[in-house]
Homo-oligomer: 463 residues x 2
């Protein structure tokens, strides 16, 4: 324990310097979905590879057809396990920019009403702040002990916010380099400020853009209205048809592979004392809008969804334009659970749309990522070890929770490399990731580093 | 007839100069719906007032809370009727700009495949080219005879493309100045290239923007998806509900005041040899998409509609963003026929939306213009006189037709000033008004001027 204690002290003493490094990374606008920021994505990758090399990793930037990967490796003591840590350096777009109280790429530290410090910037939580907690733990270990307690491979990708198109080919091409005993991911939340969490389930994701087209040009709604097909109306009808009155998705076969959560797991979830009214109230809502008769935790952790993430057609500027648009577009995503098949669901959706196209109308489809859900065994020894370490750092014992979000890599680690993935993150529910004024708590950043030091120490002593 | 002949010659000889004047007007980007072009709207008004004064009208620009009016007056011979001519100098927005083959505000003359010349610019047909046909007819009359054959008041507004908010108050405030024996409007189409048309019916319009709001900010569709209300989905459902399976509008009371067209009128329409397949085929369609069992002419001339003219919500940029939007917006318009009441329909729509809002959701409404339909008596002596004059200019006799579009002023002339409105225009169905590459045929511009000279001459001889 002597060396762990000195590592933890080292982290405490160097918090300001670790913040400087995080701020340098946050200043790079690495928005992966927008081609205008491709250079910045590479800049973020170069930054991270350089930083890992400085710590003592063998680190490199690897090109892909999209944004590059950062791959770094450091051997551990003989007999110790080897882990693969995954994070992503890309961030979400920042619109609507006018709702930010400061420049999203000029990080600042603010105090909240309770005097707690928070780091405000795009990517502060998702995922730059989180991934740096692990990097800083490794740095402190090396500084204090000259080594790491287990072998560590680090993989940072730059396309997580845009469907990870290069990830699977990269895993397939570098299986040997990436293979480890288990994977660690830091892209998730605490249960609450005092309770760390290990996520045992993650929803999968199918993203799809559909463009419905009718006339060969925009039409005057006076001359043609009543006779011409209106793509916005047709697309609206398709979207409306996607759910029944009970909030269930109507795609044929959609619920194939969806299990009911076992009663004992539901009992654990109930014991978490989750407040639906707080969860919804924080964003201005009060009633769960999903499937009738399901709790919010069920709706977001164990049930699949269909959501429209964006839609546009016709004239949307100031004033009014009496036009019938030639086309209308929607970005639609499905969150998947258990054994739902992303390919089958994409196919069913396309057929669903085709079946509803009236005469003279066509649909174009553009895929945006697809990944299955993952579901870990509750009795995994990796979970037990991480839980033990986390419970020493935080006031409360670690909670085993589900997750509504999707981290495609976790499913692929299982499929491609046969590894379990330990999802441990230090975000909070109000971090506003994907929204204006994203933040990461200073305590998340600080104790996150300490938590990883404890987990590495614990794993080094055997799983 | 001697003076009419010399006026017609004068028009023929001065065609190039009349084109120069039209081009000067077309170069002014008077887009009324976009506040950035307010100065240009005033510039267009000043241009027209100056031109009318140069002809010999008593002309002025009149301020309104929105864009200004142009009002001009020229007395006629004692005992001759006095007419009010109406047009609008404002134009539609130009997006999508990339589909224009030349700058929308740098007019050019192009030849089509048949060697016919066409004037290409935003507003070439709607309505700058059309209104200038009347102005040029007056100019030629004054040049050749020193007077006009009947009294003429001219009213040009600058808000026709954005719901005419200032028009009704202006009519109410200037009844005495505007009162005439009949109104003339040049904002409609020919039946075909050889057949002039007088429109006996015009659909009314109710424009409404609706904003559906749910959460107080954009949400991550992973964390909240399944539990949070999605405004795009809710608005899509509302839009889908607006029509039944037969294409009828489902708003309660929507069809109050909608008559069936008498059989003899339907017989006249059938005699026009209208080709549904040509009309739809020209814009890439083949099947009438409106109410089941109605012809295209019925659907566009005598039946009311509900159309979505624009819709937007969530992330619509490049790539994908897994967001649940805080709000979604749609611009919706209703075309009205016969005695449908715009106020009642606006109210019914708002109630329809409110009735379909789930818990935690609200709707905001922004009105964008409302006007009833107009329906002229088929036996009007004004129609007979105009028909006689038009039939002398063009190869074929004038057709009495319905109109799918809305010209709010026509209803208000009836309500406020007790006048019938004669709708005579020289546009063609492929003029692409409201679309990229709007054009006006050179023959429309030339023979339109000659047609107005003939109509003024004929009206001057008594109705």
């Amino acid at each position: 324990m002597a060396s762990l204690d000195s590592v933890l002290s080292c982290i405490d003493l160097n918090l300001d310097r670790s913040l400087d490094r995080l701020f340098d990374l946050l200043r790079i606008p690495s928005i992966s979905t927008d081609p205008r920021y491709a250079e910045d994505c590479r800049k973020a990758a170069d930054f991270l590879a350089g930083d890992l090399a400085a710590i003592g990793f063998e680190a490199s930037v690897r090109d892909t057809p999209g944004h590059p990967m950062v791959l770094a490796r450091h051997e551990g003591p003989a007999g110790a396990p080897h882990v693969l840590f995954y994070g992503h350096y890309d961030v979400q777009p920042v619109d609507p920019l006018e709702l930010w109280t400061s420049d999203p790429f000029d990080p600042v530290i603010r105090e909240d009403a309770n005097g707690r410090k928070r780091i405000v910037a795009r990517g502060a939580a998702d995922d730059k702040g989180q991934l740096m907690t692990f990097v800083e733990a490794c740095r402190a270990y090396k500084a204090e002990t000259g080594s790491l307690p287990c072998g560590v491979t680090i993989l940072f990708e730059g396309e997580e916010e845009s469907g990870s198109p290069s990830l699977l080919p990269f895993l397939e091409a570098h299986r040997a380099e990436l293979k480890a005993d288990a994977a660690l991911v830091c892209d998730t939340n605490m249960w609450d400020r005092d309770t760390p969490a290990i996520s045992t389930g993650l929803r999968g994701l199918v993203g799809e853009e559909v463009v419905v087209k009718a006339a060969n040009r925009d039409l005057h709604s006076g001359y043609y209205g009543g006779a011409a097909a209106n793509p916005i109306r047709i697309l609206s009808k398709i979207i409306a048809d996607l759910h029944d009155a009970d909030g269930r998705v109507t795609l044929p076969g959609f619920y194939d592979g969806v299990d009911e959560v076992p009663d004992d797991v539901k009992a654990q979830w109930n014991a978490l004392n989750f407040s639906e009214s707080d969860f919804l109230g924080e964003v201005g809502l009060s009633v769960p809008a999903g499937e009738t008769g399901r709790s919010v935790l069920e709706q977001t952790w164990s049930r699949p969804t269909a959501e429209v993430n964006g839609m546009i057609g016709g004239y949307t500027g100031a004033g009014f334009k009496t036009v019938i648009a030639a086309e209308a577009k929607a970005k639609i995503s499905f969150r998947l659970v258990f054994r739902q098949d992303p390919a089958a669901i994409r196919k069913a959706f396309r057929q669903f749309v085709e079946d509803r196209l009236p005469a003279d109308c066509t649909a174009e489809f553009h895929p945006h990522g697809g990944s299955p859900a993952i579901q870990l065994p509750f009795d995994s020894p990796w979970i037990a070890a991480a839980s033990e370490a986390l419970s020493q750092e935080w006031p409360n014992k670690a909670a085993m929770i589900g997750m509504g979000g999707s981290i495609p890599i976790a499913g692929e680690f299982k499929n491609q490399l046969g590894m379990e993935t330990l999802l441990v993150g230090f975000g909070n529910g109000d971090d506003a990731i994907h929204s204006p004024n994203e933040k990461y708590e200073m305590s998340s950043f600080h104790r996150g580093q300490r938590s990883w030091a404890r987990i590495l120490d614990r794993l080094g002593r055997g799983v």
